[in-house]
Assembly symmetry: C2
Homo-oligomer: 234 residues x 2
Amino acid sequence: MSSPAKRAVVLCSGGLDSTVTAAEAKAVGHELYLLSVNYGQRHVVELKRVPEIAAALGARRHLVVEVNLQAIGGSALTAAVPVPKDRPNKEIGSGIPPTYVPARNTLLLALALGWAEVVQAEAIYFGANVLDYSGYPDCRPEFLRAFEALAKLGTKVGVEGKTIRVEAPLLRMTKAEIIRRGLALKAPLHLTHSCYDPDEQGRACGRCDSCRLRRKGFAEAQVPDPVIYKSADL
Amino acid sequence: MSSPAKRAVVLCSGGLDSTVTAAEAKAVGHELYLLSVNYGQRHVVELKRVPEIAAALGARRHLVVEVNLQAIGGSALTAAVPVPKDRPNKEIGSGIPPTYVPARNTLLLALALGWAEVVQAEAIYFGANVLDYSGYPDCRPEFLRAFEALAKLGTKVGVEGKTIRVEAPLLRMTKAEIIRRGLALKAPLHLTHSCYDPDEQGRACGRCDSCRLRRKGFAEAQVPDPVIYKSADL
């Protein structure tokens, strides 16, 4: 009898980073359990792509958990605060941006941890990155290590001596490196979506921090960006 | 000008412990922000009482966040696993019971942390208890301290040097002590609900672990229990 596949829960928003993260988990032999969280984000359109991404990657399961974070508010991604546009790249990486969602990554990891415990996964894969979003406190490596320690103390599997690792393979990659890595792994980049503020047809604005970082990344990687932008002149 | 009231987010399920916890937060001068989480628990009836509990305690706000943890499953409280009945008291406190919800308290605290950051609360109050539920890993003091450390690393306020404390004032109290403390603080115990498996009319079963602990607590405190049980002979 062959040994059972190693399972990984992958937090997958349908964005570029989380899709490449899922491809990384697959590349090291994990059976994929893709977890999407609908927390009322403006850019919920990106979640619509996850079933196709899951199919393209041969994921074992895809689960969507709904949480109404709008009730809590406090962020440009969940409340009536404008998403910043056309910020110079040097500003994007400095300070905590208004798109920071209070305790969002703690919540996403908590949900991933619960599912990881239920399906007996040995790792959680998370597309955190410290270069592009140095302003988000809950993307830092020390935060991820603290969550791993918490997971060990707060779960039945942890008490039984097992560790659920938190893997963030893109943590120190530039966007261009992530794109090149995604292409090398044959990740379905054409299905991914990055914009924080898409229009009603789901077209990317091209001007929010996330679009600017994506466009710069594709330009640096010298690869055409498959995303459709609202303005033809972008 | 008087200084602004110190704010606390209190995780309040409508149960006995969380209601007394809220009364403790009020007793030390906090303005109360009661947070209830509807995670698809069987005993969601208890949440119905929270608006009345909030009014009785003069809470500033009451917020309900919805999360469909049934999608994740893995617990007698959220999935089609039977709730144990009539277990001897010595068994209730040993091992991890089937009513353990994977990573539930990590999730509850993550939501409380997000709201605490938005409303600038200085503390989260949580009705964790290690005596009655020694089997739940995510009620232990070391888990709560680990969460505090995580909160410091993973939030904007933490990066700015502020600490959001996690207070668990009932941590080492017996159920009888909690009941006596609640009476001393004039907590609205008559509005609280404890049963894991109430009937359609919301009447407590009297036989699940939670009912048994509650009944034993009221008996030891020598106070009548205001809850209505399904069987008259309990």
